[in-house]
């Protein structure tokens, strides 16, 4: 497994949708690291943006499900 890591692709099932959680978390973390004035506020700001992004994605998913 470790020998083929970074060489062969990993097979994924239908549950790959959950990988959007770490992706959004990293986007929120990097964006807020760049934007925030005081690093003390970083964890709360990141959590807020992460929740905001996920809520937006869920709403978008529901709207598209209803329309399409």
């Amino acid at each position: 497994m470790i020998g083929t890591l970074f060489v062969n692709p990993i097979e994924m099932g239908r549950d790959h949708i959950w990988l959007v959680l770490p992706l959004c978390a990293v986007v929120a973390l990097v964006y807020k690291t760049v934007r925030v004035a005081r690093l003390k506020d970083l964890p709360l700001q990141v959590l807020g943006l992460w929740a905001y992004m996920l809520a937006g994605l869920i709403i978008l998913g529901v709207v598209l499900y209803l329309l399409v």
Binding site: I10, L19, V26, V27
Partner: protein, 175 residues
């Protein structure tokens, strides 16, 4: 903390170049150490997580040129992945040509190449390709954001973290 230093016109160029080469290095150069470390870990971690999911053909300048353009913003990480992809691609091309020649051209080099991809388990299919390219491409785009920030901070000559906000005394209400 937060010293303004506008005397060095090369600072934005150096900060931008460093930020592109190694994600986070631009911020380290501008003495924003913790921010630089966070950016470095996040962007490199996301990029290599994508390559771990998608394998060596996650970075594919011929087949996925727009994703490749996004991935290239991640700097040396993408350079290393691209270098390895090129090596594997060249080896497969040589093997595919040999295979096609062995079969007296009944199999085209392109078909032989595809067969070798599948045989060696390099073939990248849905949903692994989507996850892999989204992770590595978003990592590159995030580094673009960090590059812009480093260039901007370098251009205004701001070194270190911004100074803490001074609390202003409450204004007295006129009676």
């Amino acid at each position: 903390m937060g010293k303004a230093k506008t005397s060095n016109p090369l600072m934005p160029v150096a900060a931008g170049l460093l930020a592109w080469l190694v994600p986070g290095a631009g911020h380290l150069y501008l003495r924003r150490t913790l921010r630089g470390i966070i950016i470095c870990l996040c962007i490199n971690g996301l990029f290599w997580a994508g390559v771990a999911v998608g394998g060596v053909f996650t970075v594919d300048p011929i087949g996925q040129r727009w994703w490749f353009a996004a991935q290239m913003c991640a700097g040396t990480s993408c350079g290393a992945a691209w270098y390895y992809q090129k090596r594997v691609h060249r080896n497969l091309l040589v093997q595919a040509d040999a295979l096609a020649a062995e079969s007296n051209r009944r199999v085209t080099p392109h078909e032989a190449y595809t067969r070798l991809l599948v045989k060696n388990n390099y073939d990248l299919n849905y949903p692994s390709d989507t996850v892999a390219r989204a992770y590595s491409g978003v990592a590159g785009m995030l580094n673009l954001l960090a590059i812009f920030d480093a260039v901007l901070l370098g251009a205004i000559g701001r070194l270190g973290e911004p100074p803490p906000e001074k609390k202003q005394p409450p204004k007295e209400r006129p009676r």
